[in-house]
């Protein structure tokens, strides 16, 4: 085993170590939790996109839909936190079941367009429904307790999220390497052949979509609990686009790509103010200052550059240049 084969493993442990000590190194725990929510969301998205080759443009509906229901259960119904999160996941699964059943019948760009259109139904529902608070969003979601442990402290919440994230990541990794995951990838590579071998391709795709929906729901539910509010942004199509971007930047179909992408883009958004001031300072062009309140434009630019020049993403590029043979997915 050369270091090249081991690199993803070392990187995984390094990331985990960093995540454990980060709150003591002066990182703002809420930023860390945001990162992990989006990283988990990206991992969930990647489970579908990376291994079935079907790019969903509707994952925001799963993410935000779960967030809203978790928020509703904790705020209005007074449910305990774990039950609220479970309800969020269940919501995402229910939306995912309908969306998936309709979408897996179509391929490629059609799949993307169908998921996008169905997610729009969820968006308009959330816009009009009473419980979501419309444009104001759902405010004051209590964090509550987890098995007697109060989640009020950011640091406690941070480690709970870390445990949830690591466990989910490990589980997602197991799914990809399981016989089920292998069959899903076989369907992506050659669907008629997989069918002729006796596998019901659409069922496998739907199964993967549901798993992806469940984890996206978990990410959305956790975000609602952590942040204490839920807004329309989370169900908007721009969030679906955002999760595609995170995964694409990190590397589609890799274990660590979605995490790296989420960390990178979240940090970039957080530091946009500093960056835009710096650009304004060195170029003297005042326009750069406006970048700060226009993060989506910067994301758009990264998107375009990524698709044109950097389609494999960070991890994908690393694997292609230095990694093991493509047969073993890194």
């Amino acid at each position: 085993m050369s270091w090249r084969h081991q690199a993803p493993l070392y990187l995984t442990w390094l990331l985990l170590l960093l995540a454990i000590v980060a709150p003591w190194l002066g990182m703002y725990p809420v930023l860390g939790m945001r990162m992990m929510c989006f990283a988990l969301f990206a991992c969930a998205f990647n489970l579908m996109a990376g291994y079935t080759g079907l790019i969903s443009f509707g994952h925001a509906a799963l993410f935000g839909g779960a967030g809203y229901l978790t928020g509703l259960a904790l705020t209005s119904w007074g449910w305990p936190t774990p039950a609220g999160i479970a309800l969020g996941i269940f919501t995402a699964l229910a939306i995912g079941l309908v969306m998936g059943m309709l979408a897996v019948r179509r391929y490629g760009i059609y799949f993307s367009m169908v998921t996008l259109a169905l997610a729009q139904i969820v968006y308009f529902y959330c816009l009009q429904a009473n419980f979501t608070g419309g444009e104001d969003g759902l405010q004051g979601i209590p964090r509550g307790t987890l098995f007697g442990l109060s989640l009020q402290s950011d640091r406690v919440m941070y480690y709970v999220m870390l445990v949830v994230f690591v466990a989910s990541w490990w589980f997602i990794r197991r799914i990809v390497r399981s016989p089920f995951g292998q069959i899903v990838q076989a369907v992506r590579e050659n669907e008629p052949r997989a069918i002729s071998l006796g596998y019901r391709a659409n069922r496998y795709k739907l199964g993967m979509f549901l798993l992806s929906a469940g984890f996206a729901g978990l990410a959305g539910a956790m975000k609602a609990v952590i942040m204490g509010f839920e807004t329309l942004t989370d169900v908007h199509w721009s969030t679906s686009g955002m999760v595609i971007l995170l995964t694409l930047v990190g590397g589609l179909g890799t274990d660590l790509g979605p995490i790296l992408g989420a960390v990178l883009i979240t940090v970039l958004e957080e530091k946009m103010g500093t960056i835009s001031r710096f650009l304004e300072h060195i170029t003297g062009i005042q326009w750069f200052a406006s970048l700060n309140d226009n993060v989506s434009m910067v994301n758009g630019a990264i998107f375009v550059l990524c698709v044109l020049l950097f389609r494999r993403g960070i991890v994908g590029t690393f694997n292609a240049r230095w990694g093991p043979a493509p047969a073993a997915s890194g």
Partner: protein, 295 residues
């Protein structure tokens, strides 16, 4: 007062007219998408942004250069078409032969970029854009007063749709295009410059979106975000109609505009989602869309 299903007839006819007008816009937009898709297998997410650019250009032309509506009706689509041409030549062409999803992702990013750029300069608030004086009045249709401009916009959209249909189905250039849709390699072997054809088609589709934008400018507020929700509705219409035929795009665009208008009368809460619900229904019955062929 006469009623149908408990709804006053004037209200019903009024929404029918507005629905027909929206439908004409949907038809023009989905037509542009369909033409591009047919030849390139590419879905242009930026179509909504191109629509917005058409309207913004019309507004900017009036604001900064004192060019009236009629001038901008000509110039704005040309400018948007030129922009589309550059996008195809400089970006999309590099993705030829790859999974079409990359084209969708690229144009998605482009949408965020274009909308963001316009936002940094013009903010998100809408600006009104007045129709030309010639079309300023209202028409009395007996059951409602309809602004003259609405009638003009509807007629112009339908004319553009019919013109496009004629161009594609009845001219020599259109026959190249249809042949290219069937088999690009063979068309190229016959000495037709296929890359040029693709570039011009993309420019044409973009110009059509720009034209829709100019025509819509006096009806809805001109703002950098005016195209972003619209494009998703148009996507759903395209899925319903199927990408198969030019006529399919026109017919389903018009039909869904009318259905959306009628939904506003009968059950308003779902008027913004009815198109998506119909899409889900159509998909369960005919996955390839109403007029589409399974590829």
């Amino acid at each position: 007062m006469a009623e149908i299903f408990g709804i006053p007839v004037p209200l019903l006819l009024g929404q029918l007219m507005l629905g027909l007008m929206n439908g004409a816009f949907y038809a023009m937009l989905s037509l542009g998408l369909a033409v591009i898709f047919g030849l390139m297998d590419e879905v242009n997410f930026a179509h909504g942004a191109f629509f917005m650019m058409g309207a913004m250009f019309a507004w900017m032309g009036g604001q900064y250069f004192h060019l009236g509506f009629w001038w901008m009706l000509l110039l704005a689509p040309l400018a948007v078409g030129l922009f589309g041409l550059l996008v195809e030549r400089l970006m999309l062409r590099r993705l030829r032969g790859m999974d079409p999803i990359y084209g969708l992702l690229l144009t998605f990013g482009l949408t965020l970029l274009i909308e963001g750029l316009f936002r940094t300069f013009f903010g998100v608030a809408g600006s009104p854009y007045n129709p030309p004086a010639l079309l300023g009045g209202t028409l009395n249709l007996g059951f409602m007063y309809l602004p003259t401009y609405y009638v003009f916009a509807m007629a112009a959209s339908l004319a553009a749709c019919f013109g496009t249909w004629f161009l594609i189905e009845r001219t020599k250039l259109g026959s190249y295009l249809r042949a290219g849709t069937e088999n690009p390699a063979l068309v190229q072997a016959f000495g037709i410059n296929f890359p040029l054809l693709v570039m011009l088609t993309f420019a044409f589709g973009s110009a059509l979106a720009g034209l829709a934008g100019v025509l819509a400018a006096p009806i809805i507020q001109v703002s950098p975000l005016m195209g972003s929700n619209l494009i998703i509705v148009v996507f759903a219409i395209v899925v319903i109609g199927g990408m198969g035929s030019v006529m399919g795009a026109i017919v389903s665009g018009l039909a869904l505009g009318v259905i959306e208008g009628l939904t506003k009368v009968f059950y308003a809460p779902i008027s913004s989602t009815v198109v998506f619900i119909l899409m889900a229904l159509v998909l369960t019955v005919r996955p390839a869309g109403l007029f589409g062929k399974e590829k």
